[in-house]
Symmetry: C2
Subunit: 321 residues, 2 copies
């Protein structure tokens, strides 16, 4: 049995307790995906639940958007492994009195997100529940799956795309306002970084994960799994245009706002120190996405964040907080 060192936080405390309870029947817990080697390479699997009032509120999104987002969040785990999606299974639970349009809307969103990533809807399960719950399990293949464990001191830390827009949408909804269209789109229609993840996996990525808990927390997970320290230069964090007004309104410096927000589903990759500007351009041409160096791995443990050369403290998002 392989145990992955886990970061701090109450969710990880629960996972640690679970790994102990499971003992020898546990496989590799703590990574985004499970790997099953087979004759054609490695089968990569991940399961991800989206639950009403925890991951979303129904008055924020249409049923189709809820479905898209649930599937995209799961497919994003395959992206982080550098895997190619094969298909997904969806367990959908809704209140008994829900109109049939709710279940068809959710499944239409799941189907569209799957098709957008080249995955088939392989099967599912439909049942009653007190609240909306969608659990999506994804299956993919990778020649060389990238885990969150392989980073070494000296590696550069890179982020795809721009961060913070999904947080801007969440903050607006929580304050009772409608988010800006770009922020809303970032939250309701995240696009799993499949091609980007595959390219990075094929071009030397040592460790990778998708940013669901926010850069601050996820860098800590990558550091803990890899047994070293993540040093993030917050001045270089790519902040989404839609996040800037929200950050200013909240009185938070935009890169701090972006680094502490979750749900972006961009990729965080540890790449060899030699990965430079020419590689960056090749990545951007291949994937159509920007990639930005936001820090490096160093000896030690945990995370260190600096803004204009000064140490700062940041917290991430924890579902059990």
């Amino acid at each position: 049995m392989t145990r992955i060192p886990l970061g701090a936080g109450p969710e990880f405390d629960r996972i640690r307790a679970i790994a102990e309870a499971l003992g020898e029947s546990a496989g590799t817990l703590g990574d985004d995906c499970a790997s099953v080697p087979d004759a054609e390479g490695t089968l990569v699997l991940s399961t991800d639940a989206s639950i009403e009032n925890v991951h979303f509120r129904r008055d924020w999104m249409t049923a189709e958007e809820v479905g898209w987002r649930a599937a995209a969040a799961a497919l994003s785990d395959l992206a982080a492994q550098g895997a190619t999606p094969v298909g997904l299974l969806a367990a959908v639970a809704l209140p008994r009195e829900a109109p049939v349009e709710d279940s068809t809307g959710i499944m239409r969103g799941i189907g569209r997100a799957a098709a957008d990533s080249g995955a088939a809807v392989l099967g599912g399960d439909l049942s009653a529940a007190g609240e909306w719950m969608i659990t999506v399990t994804v299956v993919g293949r990778a020649v060389r799956p990238v885990s969150r464990r392989g980073a070494s001191p000296g590696d550069g830390l890179w982020v795809t795309g721009a961060l913070g827009a999904a947080r801007a949408a969440l903050d607006a909804w929580r304050a009772g306002r409608e988010p800006a269209p770009g922020a809303r789109e970032a939250f309701a229609h995240p696009r799993p970084r499949i091609a980007a993840g595959r390219w990075l996996g094929e071009h030397g990525a040592r460790a990778m994960l998708d940013l669901s808990d926010g850069l601050a927390a996820d860098a800590g997970h990558l550091a803990a799994a890899s047994g070293c320290r993540a040093e993030i230069d917050l001045d270089s964090v790519p902040t989404a245009g839609d996040a800037v007004p929200a950050a200013i309104a909240a009185g938070i410096e935009p890169p701090l706002y972006a680094a502490a927000g979750g749900e972006d589903y961009e990729l965080l990759a540890a790449l060899p120190a030699a990965f430079g500007e020419a590689d960056q351009r090749r990545f951007e041409q291949a994937s159509g996405l920007a990639i930005t160096r936001v820090g490096r791995m160093a000896r030690g443990e945990g995370t260190r964040f600096t803004l204009r050369g000064e140490r700062v403290t940041l917290a991430g998002f924890d579902h059990f907080r």
Copy 2:
């Protein structure tokens, strides 16, 4: 895209609407498992949700029993395909205030059920929810997966084990009584019929499913998927000893009680007409389980039940009823 003809009932109406909404992005819907061919044979996958107050009540079982049952219900879908389990993924959602013992108990039960079927716990997801929800996705392999579609007129219909004990437990709990120990065990610790399913798959089973909705309803599903009629002789239905007093107390003839009860997780198999007593003995020696002929497939559609030669009507269990 392959569409499997579906039986009657509101749950299937929803699945039909979903298949329409999915259109071409849908894979094979309507069977217990999805199949992905690969170099080593066929990968078989299934996902199954267990939800508080729908599939169980927390005051009925310990957390470990809830976990066992959730995993066993999903593994049972692999048994019905004649597949060998590889592993499972578990998405567990609990109220934020739940003690850590609840999540470790659930995962211990999942781990024990997995180990009992030769499966590894490959990964999972943990989050908050208003009520307990456990979604288990199982992965297995089969040389020749058995679907519910392959039955033909003339095939015999056979059932493993004995039926009705899980219903007896449910009826007792619903009436506010503690079930008899054997009935309680049948509900809380179902054992997926992995070896039995594999043996039947290797010995000519044309169609198979696991009895979760009850023989009456599940025979209808097999008939609809196979495009013929299931004829069940209720006098021959093997009734669990623990179901008999419950049936008598409910004023229902024991085989009718057993045939209309769900959650047994025994297998219903369509076997060639030539499958006879010698095969039956070989099966029982190989699996340690009884197998009983309860009817046959015929031309036509739907189900026909007879008791002492008279036609009777039976209904099954539907989560959206």
